[in-house]
């Protein structure tokens, strides 16, 4: 499966949750598949989805799901020790690990070679780390929500992008409606 197929499959789970979605094609795909006010789309700033999601999870009680990518975690690797050492049990970091920089032309990342993000996360001190296959994403995500424990998921899947339109929503509108969903 490629990322867009995974997102289509888990859209019913994501719909009722606060979601922080990674820059580029992942946000475009999520926006096209199932736009919700409770989705925060990153339009820039590669690498910070996991940090934004952690700050959000530590500041209010609702569950927060971050849809991140292997390339973005690699660019902000310092996020994993911060996550591990500031436990928020309403935080789920779902890394869609397709071993490539999808938004820029599918250039390979190191996670498609020797580097294991699950092992990095464990070494950083994250306690509930689950690497799963693409077909198991929905089940593992639901289990993570049900567990009430901070979870890092590494979803191994195929490289590739769906053709989706660029998000033209104004960033302040994205942020404002998201904050209203947080506060509701």
């Amino acid at each position: 499966m490629i990322r867009s197929e995974i997102l289509k499959e888990i859209a019913p789970i994501l719909r009722d949750q606060l979601v922080v979605c990674n820059i580029g094609i992942p946000s475009q795909e999520l926006h096209a598949i199932d736009d919700q006010p409770s989705n925060f789309y990153m339009l820039g700033t590669m690498g910070l989805a996991s940090s934004i999601g952690l700050g959000l999870a530590l500041s209010q009680p609702k569950p927060v799901i971050v849809i991140d990518g292997d390339g973005s975690i690699l660019t902000n690797m310092g996020t994993l020790p911060t996550i591990a050492n500031n436990v928020a049990n309403n935080y789920i970091l779902m890394i869609i690990d397709n071993g490539s920089y999808g938004s820029t032309g599918d250039q390979p990342t190191y996670t498609g070679k020797k580097t294991s993000l699950a092992k990095v996360a464990e070494a950083c001190g994250c306690e509930r780390v689950i690497e799963c296959r693409d077909v198991d994403t929905g089940r593992v995500l639901q289990e993570a929500l049900d567990s009430g424990e901070m979870t890092v998921m590494v979803v191994k899947c195929d490289s590739g992008n769906a053709k989706m339109p660029v998000i033209t929503l104004d960033p302040v509108i994205i942020r404002d409606r998201f904050m209203k969903a947080v506060a509701s």
Binding site: T45, I52, L58, S59, R175
Partner: protein, 168 residues
């Protein structure tokens, strides 16, 4: 006046309850004060752009954030300031140790000091420079201003403000 306590008191009085820090020797006292204050959740970050991401999330979660860092971090965070904090119009007080100014002993620090105000000006970031201890009296107003206008605001604090750096 205990400057570290005064700064922390102003943060608390302005309902700032989520503070991320990347350390600097000049900031050690205020970071310790923040760590010890019950009203503030202190979350050290490994890099300043990561810290700004944490602050963005905290603010959307209903808390008032602040970041404490060194001026070298301006070089690290230009993209984050432009495409996250400014683009989504978020407030962010940045208490910045202004290294490389008068009484600085480390020559390399001057290399970023000479760019600091120019970069902040280029980014249209309101910038205040604390040089004398009494300048801290403006901090309360600066914090109110930041959350009024929803912008990142820089407070540069140099070695003279902190009472000198080592025996220089």
């Amino acid at each position: 006046m205990n400057i570290d306590k005064k700064i922390t008191d102003d943060l608390v009085a302005n309902d700032i309850s989520f503070v991320t820090t990347v350390p600097c020797k000049q900031l050690a006292g205020v970071i310790e004060e923040i760590e010890n204050r019950e009203e503030i959740f202190h979350i050290p970050s490994n890099k300043e752009d990561e810290g700004m991401g944490l602050c963005a999330g905290a603010w959307m979660g209903g808390k008032r954030p602040a970041i404490i860092m060194q001026n070298t971090a301006i070089g690290v965070t230009i993209n984050t300031l432009a495409t996250l904090i400014q683009y989504y119009r978020m407030p962010l007080p940045m208490l910045i140790s202004y290294r490389g100014e008068l009484r600085e002993p480390v020559a390399c620090q001057v290399e970023m000091a000479v760019h600091t105000k120019a970069l902040l000006a280029q980014m249209n970031i309101p910038t205040y420079h604390f040089h004398k201890q009494s300048d801290v009296q403006e901090l309360d107003m600066i914090l109110k201003y930041t959350f009024m206008c929803n912008k990142p605001v820089a407070i540069l604090t140099d070695a003279n403000f902190w009472g000198g750096y080592g025996d220089q």
